[in-house]
């Protein structure tokens, strides 16, 4: 087993995991232990995003007619679907995810959607963009500046004038509180920090929710317009969290938090590990884990 490494880049997921349980953060991002079983929630969201990006590129970049662009999206979704059988994904079945993409593109047809992909300064369409911007804190081993990494679905114009970041989120169900969960979301504050630093003057973030129901697709939308002060405060909080991560790294040990994170979102993947008081270094494939060389955001770089 490789010794733990402090990650070269920080992500919003990492920050969330660190706050919910430092042991989860350390095991996942420093020890790089990943569950052998794929998460259906992540897989369904990833396949939907791949399909939507492909459909948008087909329509806006390759100038395919809308119906063909939708088919290009479905092809990409199928190609991105990681399960070889339908039983593994029974909680978010493949047909449900495919129809959600088709329904979404009927609800928001390419040419008529109020959101249209904007252009980056270099002339590219703003479909799927990622950033990794240096933070004023150095990596504990390499001495290089730590990076903050994020990836959003689209930089778009809203109603032809306002620039917004757009992100589609798949979920099991869109409840009455769906929109409120994003008001102080570090993920979107981070997107705005990154895009405003590039001089785009983005007004806010448009979040679209796609509820993957077996009998229908639920679709909702909310627009967030955080102030500059809020984004600045998020940034200070981020730096403070990174310093706390470094302190944990220095100690080479992370405490477990026996609280909500253990059971939320269907249960933490480390639940059994903690129940048996196992150390991250002792995990093997028999425990359902494998050590990965690259974290999810390092694979594309």
């Amino acid at each position: 087993m490789q010794p733990p490494r402090f990650p070269a880049a920080i992500t919003n997921s990492m920050v969330k995991d660190f706050h919910s349980c430092p042991f989860k953060w350390y095991t996942t991002y420093c020890n790089r232990m990943a569950p052998l079983d794929l998460s259906i929630h992540l897989a369904a969201g990833g396949a939907f995003a791949a399909g939507l990006a492909a459909a948008r590129l087909a329509f806006y970049e390759q100038a395919l007619p809308a119906p063909e662009a939708v088919l290009a999206g479905v092809r990409a979704l199928l190609a991105a679907w990681p399960f070889d059988d339908l039983r593994s994904s029974s909680r978010k079945p493949l047909p449900v995810v495919i129809l959600a993409l088709v329904d979404y593109l009927e609800q928001y047809p390419f040419g008529e959607d109020l959101l249209q992909p904007a252009f980056f300064h270099d002339g590219r369409r703003g479909i799927e963009f990622s950033f990794d911007d240096p933070l004023p804190i150095d990596h504990p081993t390499t001495g290089e500046p730590l990076l903050y990494f994020g990836r959003a679905d689209m930089l778009a114009t809203f109603s032809g004038e306002h620039l917004v970041i757009t992100d589609e989120k798949t979920t099991t169900q869109i409840g009455p509180q769906w929109a409120s969960r994003f008001t102080l979301s570090g993920q979107f504050l981070g997107y705005l920090w990154a895009i405003r630093a590039r001089d785009y003057g983005a007004l806010g973030v448009c979040v679209r929710g796609i509820g993957l129901r077996k009998d229908r697709t639920e679709i909702a939308q909310t627009i967030l317009m955080p102030s500059k002060e809020l984004v600045a405060d998020w940034y200070e909080s981020l730096l403070s969290t990174v310093k706390d991560m470094l302190a944990v790294w220095e100690r080479q040990t992370a405490r477990r938090v026996y609280a909500d994170a253990c059971s939320s979102y269907g249960g933490c993947h480390l639940q059994n590990v903690c129940y048996h008081s196992k150390a991250a270094e002792d995990l093997t494939e028999a425990d359902g884990f494998t050590q990965v060389d690259k974290l999810y955001f390092e694979r594309d770089r």
């Binding site: 063909e68 088919l71 479905v74 092809r75 199928l78 190609a79 679907w81 070889d84 059988d85 339908l86 493949l94 047909p95 495919i98 129809l99 088709v102 077996k214 009998d215 229908r216």
Partner: protein, 67 residues
């Protein structure tokens, strides 16, 4: 979807992942099949919901007693 239809969808996925140029018509047909199946399933759910609904509402006397 029936087991056969689901298997057909998985086969379609394999072919696409293997780089085969699957014709648009096949993908359109798969989407139509999924839609029909979802529509049929939602009709069955609606029928079950109606079947479970109370057969009688309270009479005026019963209501008055409750109040």
């Amino acid at each position: 979807m029936t087991d056969d239809q689901e298997q057909g969808l998985i086969n379609l996925r394999f072919r696409i992942r293997n780089g085969e140029a699957v014709p648009d018509d096949e993908i359109r047909a798969a989407i139509d099949l999924m839609r029909e199946s979802r529509f049929a399933a939602s009709r069955r759910t609606a029928a079950r919901t109606v079947a479970k609904a109370p057969k009688h509402s309270l009479t005026a006397e019963e209501l008055e007693e409750l109040i």
